[in-house]
């Protein structure tokens, strides 16, 4: 039942992605609207997946890569739907739905059975830590999308060759605002995620997670520093525009690196239960 739901969600997201990409090529109003509705339907089913999965496992389904990738995709789509409503940027779907689809495809490639959790990790932190971290990173995914759109649009305006994409992409101002918005919410969430993770680890293992050099934790610190400098740069030094967009790209690249490469290939206590 749960796997059927998962496959349905993947199929719907792919359909929505194709609709969104088609809109980018030929900007017709109904394409953007229909694609958005498709994504909403996909998201609703995805929520259903989350509920059934949580019920089956007895905890938030983030304990193996299949679950966590799917959960991440869910968070990305949730943030996307909120931002699409808030900023009314039609081209956003074309940049974000592929991210969600890639996560879902990766999730599909991993074994889908319900993970079991060592009793030592059972705690309410199991809700806070992943929810904070995943939504923080989902916001960064959106900042990445907005940053990519900003760089494309900026290049169009600067080079003075205004192609079709120029008309489809929103204004630099809106893209920059969106980037800022994602950061303003994403950075505190990331920070909360790190803090709650540390507390959880300390509670579970009774030692500071930083006493042993964990690759995943180190990488998380690097990511945090990148976003911390962007956050303070924006708030204090008045960074904006291209610089902020590039940072959003670099930051999300780091997030992905930490999430996929470190989790997959380097052994650590934080690795998902296989």
């Amino acid at each position: 039942m749960n796997l059927v739901l998962f496959k349905a969600v993947l199929g719907i997201y792919i359909a929505g992605m194709l609709g969104n990409l088609t809109y980018l090529v030929s900007p017709r109003e109904y394409l953007a609207r229909t694609s958005l509705y498709i994504m909403v339907v996909g998201f609703a089913l995805h929520l259903a997946w989350l509920v059934t999965r949580t019920y089956e496992a007895g905890h938030v389904p983030v304990t193996n890569l299949h679950e966590s990738l799917s959960f991440f995709a869910l968070a990305v789509i949730a943030v996307y739907l909120i931002l699409a409503k808030k900023f009314g940027v039609k081209a956003l779907g074309a940049f974000i739905s592929p991210v969600a689809v890639i996560f879902m495809l990766l999730a599909a490639s991993r074994p889908g059975e319900v993970g079991t959790l060592p009793p030592i990790l059972h705690s309410t932190w199991l809700v806070f830590h992943p929810v904070f971290s995943f939504f923080g990173n989902a916001l960064f995914a959106l900042a990445f999308g907005a940053g990519a759109m900003y760089l494309i649009q900026e290049k169009e305006v600067k080079s003075k060759k205004l192609g079709g994409i120029f008309r489809r992409l929103p204004s630099l101002e809106v893209l920059d605002k969106m980037n800022f918005y994602c950061l303003i919410f994403g950075f505190p969430l990331l920070t909360l995620g790190l803090i709650s993770g540390s507390i959880w680890a300390q509670a579970a293992w009774k030692v500071s997670p930083y006493s042993s050099l964990e690759p995943k934790l180190l990488w998380a610190a690097v990511t945090w520093l990148i976003y911390a400098s962007l956050f303070s740069g924006r708030l204090i030094a008045g960074w904006r525009g291209k610089k902020a967009a590039v940072f959003a790209l670099v930051g999300f690249g780091a997030v992905m690196l930490g999430y996929l490469v470190v989790s997959l290939y380097l052994s650590s206590q934080h690795s998902f239960i296989k």
């Binding site: 003075k160 101002e173 525009g241 291209k242």
Partner: protein, 434 residues
């Protein structure tokens, strides 16, 4: 107006122009040499009193000052107009020689046609210039400075402008340039409501573009013009504020959009300045639109992050992406001007007495000969003496008819009236119909 030239009578009137434009003179000079309305009348009358100037008309805009005149002795008249300008504006001769161009005959004709058709404008195709030429013509009429030649010349210039506007697409360009500027601004700032704009120089195209921006919700308009009064006038039109031109750098730190149209000979905004400005703005984006020819803003400025600079060519190529087509249209317009110049010059030449007399004689003789040969073929049997008599009669008749008009034409040659008479003769006898 009925001046009789002092020196030997010369029958022919030529057109000449002494002028300067954004292509030849910096803004400071253009503004100093402009003829504002309150002194225009006096200047027109003074110029018309110059010994060798028969008719004159002045076009004075922020981008050009042109004194257009008709004279039977154009070389002398040009000197007199130059001296007048030196006196009137307190110029040195060097200044005048440096910035003014002089056109005579065909060149002058084609120049005014190009100006009126907006081919010589900063923004080719901008519509204001036609109105400004019309204003100049109206003032000249009002001061009785226009006679047959300049009347015809002006009307012809208006019709050439109309032809260029209807037969080419150049006229759309100026309007589309403004809308492209607005579209770009919207892609930079989102919406324009509540944004502010700074006008550097109160040019015509700047005014047109400013009107577009205001309609899009731009709230605050600051006008910095070298001539403060003119800036104030324009600011009042849009409920904006006029500021001293020298203070403009200060406003760069604040406004969102800058429209520059001073056509200063040097860049007034350079990269170093913009780097400082963008720092002071905390990277807040700024959109610079340079519609001046020559450029006001160093193109290098576009390299500064969060600064977006478009000059008039950039806007034009976006507005009408097809450069080739635009060149084709410009070429077409030049052809129209060339065609009309030739036609007008032919008309002007026809106003000379001698060729008119010659063609009048030819015309009547041709009629005589044609009629004679027709009649003679009917009188085949008649003796040769009778035929001679008939020929003599015809010849005398034609000569008698010609005598009076030719005498009158020659007598009046050089008078302003003569031109009208020549033109009437050509019309009455259909001398131009071939």
């Amino acid at each position: 107006m009925n001046k009789v030239p002092r020196r030997a009578r010369k029958e022919k009137l030529e057109i000449a122009i002494v002028g300067l434009s954004h292509q030849t003179a910096p803004l400071e000079i253009r503004e100093r040499l402009a003829f504002p309305p309150f002194i225009l009348d006096r200047a027109l009358q003074d110029i018309n009193l110059l010994p060798d100037v028969r008719e004159n008309l002045i076009i004075s805009t922020c981008n050009r000052v042109e004194v257009i005149f008709a004279s039977a002795r154009p070389a002398d008249a040009i000197e007199q107009v130059k001296e007048f300008l030196i006196r009137f504006h307190h110029l040195s001769r060097e200044t005048l020689e440096k910035y003014f161009y002089i056109y005579s005959q065909q060149e002058a004709v084609s120049h005014l046609f190009r100006v009126t058709s907006s081919l010589d404008s900063m923004v080719v195709g901008e519509p204001q210039i036609l109105g400004q030429v019309k204003e100049g013509y109206r003032a000249a009429l009002h001061n009785r400075c226009c006679g047959l030649v300049l009347n015809r010349f002006s009307h012809k210039a208006f019709s050439v402008a109309k032809r260029v506007r209807t037969e080419t697409t150049l006229g759309n360009l100026a309007v589309s340039i403004s809308s492209v500027a607005v579209e770009l601004a919207k892609k930079i700032f989102g919406e324009l409501k509540g944004k502010s704009a700074l006008l550097l120089g109160a040019g015509d195209m700047a005014e047109l573009a400013a009107a577009y921006f205001i309609r899009q919700g731009v709230k605050e308009l600051i006008v910095a013009n070298r001539t403060y009064e003119r800036g104030k006038e324009l600011a009042a039109k849009f409920e904006g504020v006029a500021v001293e031109f020298n203070h403009f750098p200060h406003y760069l730190n604040e406004v969102d959009i800058v429209l520059s149209s001073t056509g200063s000979m040097e860049f007034i905004i350079k990269k170093e300045r913009m780097l400082k400005v963008i720092k002071a703005r905390k990277n807040r984006p700024i959109f610079l639109i340079d519609i001046a020819v020559p450029r006001d803003i160093d193109p290098m400025v576009n390299e500064v992050a969060n600064v977006y600079l478009y000059d008039i060519d950039d806007l034009a190529s976006v507005a009408d992406g097809n450069l080739e087509e635009r060149q084709h249209q410009a070429q077409r317009a030049e052809e129209i001007v060339a065609e009309e110049t030739a036609r007008f010059s032919a008309w002007l030449k026809s106003l000379e007495v001698t060729p008119t007399v010659v063609s009048l004689i030819h015309k009547l003789r041709a009629i005589r000969d044609a009629e004679l040969s027709r009649s003679i073929s009917k009188f085949r049997g008649t003796p040769p003496e009778d035929r001679k008599t008939l020929e003599r009669l015809a010849r005398r008749l034609v000569n008698k008819i010609l005598h009076e008009p030719i005498t009158r034409l020659k007598q009046n040659a050089g008078d302003p009236d003569a031109l009208a008479m020549v033109e009437a003769t050509r019309k009455l006898f259909g001398l131009d119909e071939d």
